[in-house]
């Protein structure tokens, strides 16, 4: 397949793996922030190509993994209101809230529909004027512009039966939180798709303030291996910087138009991240002029705000402090078929990936 096979060429991969082996002078720990990277790293068997001195740990970049349990509870409460349909990305369906998942709510008769975009949710609202449609707006800078454009469209057409339950988050403050929280890392495999929108400049504080290596990385095996090599060289040369390996998609300034849509609809706010707690400026909230589309403000829903007590260590895993196999629930009480924590549900979650590719290794 054109533009894919070139980035998976075995000879190139072996060559990069060889260069990495020859560049290693000690121990290195790199965090891949993005869930898409976690999935790609394991799908292509990247760890089996690396020398033992390199440790890759997963960060907080799986959108469903960092979504608060109470957010799921709120969606479920909305979905049981007569005349309301909740439209959600499929990944959210099986995430456990404090009392069950959307999937279970649907089986009990709630109107919950799986969509592939915010725009598809708006189309449902357009096709049925008697239905009030609530879109579950989750994700980082990658999905937030799509939600923003849809809200602006709904506003332009004066739509009164479309809402979003907003839980959008932004990545750089979470990365800073992880550094300050004491994770022992030498550098970041910085998110690829987020950077397409934000540009590499959003990550420049990392080498400047914290002297950590940073490479914005694509999702193919040669991308990932090239980036690891670039990170090793930054560490070896004591020369931390933000380098763009994924330069076929990412620039320093990013997608200005998408940023403008995002800024029009949203403003920064403090936000609760599952496992990480409240992160200053870690989220986006709807600007006042679009408040009528905010399901949180338009529907009177109340859910108890007590997170469940569990032995699940998702929080430490998202911070890169511990790995999934250090959790006592892992692969026993918590499996992809019966997940206890969100990291086990999503295909991009660290526990799910470990379970799929590493179990019994």
């Amino acid at each position: 397949m054109k533009y894919v096979d070139e980035f998976r060429e075995r000879k190139l991969i072996m060559n990069l793996a060889d260069q990495i082996r020859r560049s290693v002078t000690g121990e290195y720990t790199f965090m891949e922030v993005c869930g898409g990277h976690t999935a790609a790293i394991h799908r292509f068997g990247i760890p089996s190509l690396l020398p033992p001195g390199i440790r890759l740990i997963s960060g907080p970049g799986c959108p469903v993994c960092v979504t608060a349990e109470t957010y799921i509870d709120e969606l479920i409460a909305l979905s049981f209101i007569s005349g309301v349909a909740v439209a959600t990305f499929g990944d959210l369906m099986r995430i456990p809230g404090t009392a069950g998942s959307l999937s279970e709510a649907r089986a009990e008769g709630a109107d919950i529909r799986v969509v592939l975009s915010a725009y598809e949710a708006l189309e449902i609202a357009r096709s049925d004027h008697d239905l009030r449609v609530v879109f579950a707006a989750i994700g980082f800078e990658t999905t937030a512009p799509g939600t923003a454009v849809t809200v602006l469209k709904a506003d332009a057409e004066g739509r009164e039966n479309f809402f979003i339950l907003n839980a959008h988050k932004v990545m750089p403050p979470a990365m800073e939180e992880i550094i300050k929280g004491g994770s022992q890392i030498d550098g970041f495999i910085c998110p690829g798709h987020v950077s397409v929108i934000t540009g590499s400049s959003a990550f420049e504080f990392i080498p400047r303030k914290y002297k950590l290596a940073s490479v914005i990385t694509g999702f193919e095996p040669t991308d990932i291996l090239s980036s690891i090599l670039m990170l090793i060289r930054q560490v070896n040369n004591h020369n931390p910087a933000v380098e763009i390996q994924y330069n076929r998609a990412v620039t320093r300034t990013g997608n200005i138009k998408a940023q403008a849509y995002m800024n029009e609809a949203f403003e920064p706010c403090d936000a609760g991240w599952r496992g990480l707690g409240v992160i200053a400026a870690g989220g986006l909230r709807m600007r006042d002029k679009y408040k009528s589309f905010d399901a949180g403000a338009s529907f009177n829903i109340e859910v108890a705000h007590n997170e469940t007590e569990t032995a699940c260590i998702c929080g430490d895993i998202l911070r890169g402090i511990r790995t999934p196999d250090e959790c006592i629930l892992f692969a026993s009480a918590c499996t992809p078929h019966h997940p206890s924590g969100a990291c086990m549900v999503s295909d991009e979650g660290a526990c799910n990936t470990w379970y799929k590719y590493h179990l019994h290794e």
Binding site: V4, R8, R43, S48, G90, P336, H358, L359
Partner: protein, 335 residues
């Protein structure tokens, strides 16, 4: 206005009888007088017996429809058990308002596929439910196949041993990707048709000419990953797959890249995986390739002593990974 199914077509009265005669008996060739049960001659000590329900959405898709699928699926379940499919019962649940023309097309392609596979549709049932109580049409087919005693080990993989070669009869996933692309929601235009096919003639040739088949399974829901994990779990053997040898078609790879699916977990409706004794594998491969249903057959891996109970993939990029049983739901109602 075209003729539609009404509740009275399921009443058991005159309209039911008329529908049975004008659609089902016409296509399936059932003999008058119609009795409550079909009486079957079975020249065997053992039979294979299976049932499956079909709820695919959309009901007509490139390369087939729900009726053809309902015959192929049940024929293949019998064939991969080592049996010779003989008789099929077909039961229909139809939503009020369904076009009789569409029902006729579905019944015609069921008859056509049954004829190709050499099975007889001998009995059936029709129910009609109120509008909104089912999605257009659901079909259940139940099949009986004649089983030779010396083929009864195949279902269980009882003769599996290290070194056995794993052979598939063509590229996996075409059915599921065709269904995904047929859903209006995604608006993808994919140059692909479903692989929906009866495999019993090809399998019969293999079983008649070789005693080296140690296991067979059709790769429906869960795809190659599902079948291989079941086999590994059932026999406690290890399985090694060479990803580069699995012949995935370009449109399937393309859609998988876009949507983040693994082709090894996608469903087919005319694909079988055979575990063959090492010294018979070449012969079995040639028999398969000589049949239209197996022209693109290839060896994709083997049974190993390494990592009992697990499936290992040597990825085409040079890395190694485990292949797990797929979990959750990629897409509902693909069959």
């Amino acid at each position: 206005m075209s003729e539609k199914i009404t509740l009275s077509h399921g009443s058991g009265g005159r309209q039911t009888h008329d529908l049975i005669r004008s659609v089902f008996a016409k296509h399936f060739g059932m003999q008058e007088p119609m009795t409550d049960s079909a009486l079957l001659a079975v020249p065997s000590e053992m039979i294979a017996f299976t049932t499956d329900s079909y709820v695919v959405n959309p009901i007509f898709f490139p390369g087939g429809n729900i009726g053809r699928l309902a015959i192929c699926g049940t024929v293949n379940d019998l064939a991969v058990s080592g049996a010779d499919p003989a008789y099929i019962a077909a039961s229909f649940i139809i939503e009020e308002g369904f076009e009789i023309n569409d029902l006729d097309r579905i019944a015609a392609s069921m008859a056509d596929e049954a004829d190709t596979a050499g099975v007889k549709i001998v009995t059936g049932d029709t129910k009609v439910v109120e509008k909104g109580h089912c999605d257009r049409i659901f079909i259940t087919t139940t099949g009986v196949g004649i089983l030779r005693n010396d083929h009864s080990h195949i279902s269980y993989g009882a003769h599996i041993k290290a070194g056995d070669k794993l052979i598939i009869n063509g590229p996996p996933g075409n059915h599921e990707v065709t269904i995904i692309a047929s859903r209006k929601q995604l608006s993808f235009d994919v140059p692909l048709t479903s692989d929906c096919t009866s495999l019993n003639r090809m399998i019969k040739k293999v079983l008649e000419q070789s005693s080296g088949v140690h296991f067979m399974r059709d790769m429906t829901r869960g795809g190659l990953a599902g079948v291989l994990n079941e086999l590994a779990g059932m026999t406690a053997c290890g399985i090694m797959i060479e990803e580069a040898l699995v012949p995935v078609e370009e449109p399937v790879r393309g859609l998988c890249e876009i949507l983040g699916f693994d082709p090894l977990t996608l469903a087919s409706e005319g694909r079988v995986i055979i575990a063959a004794a090492a010294d018979e594998a070449e012969k079995i491969l040639n028999i398969m390739r000589s049949d239209p249903a197996g022209r693109d057959s290839s060896v994709i891996g083997e049974i190993t002593l390494e990592k009992p109970g697990r499936v290992i993939v040597n990825s085409s990029t040079g890395g190694r990974r485990f292949l797990d049983m797929p979990s959750g739901l990629l897409l509902p109602r693909i069959c």
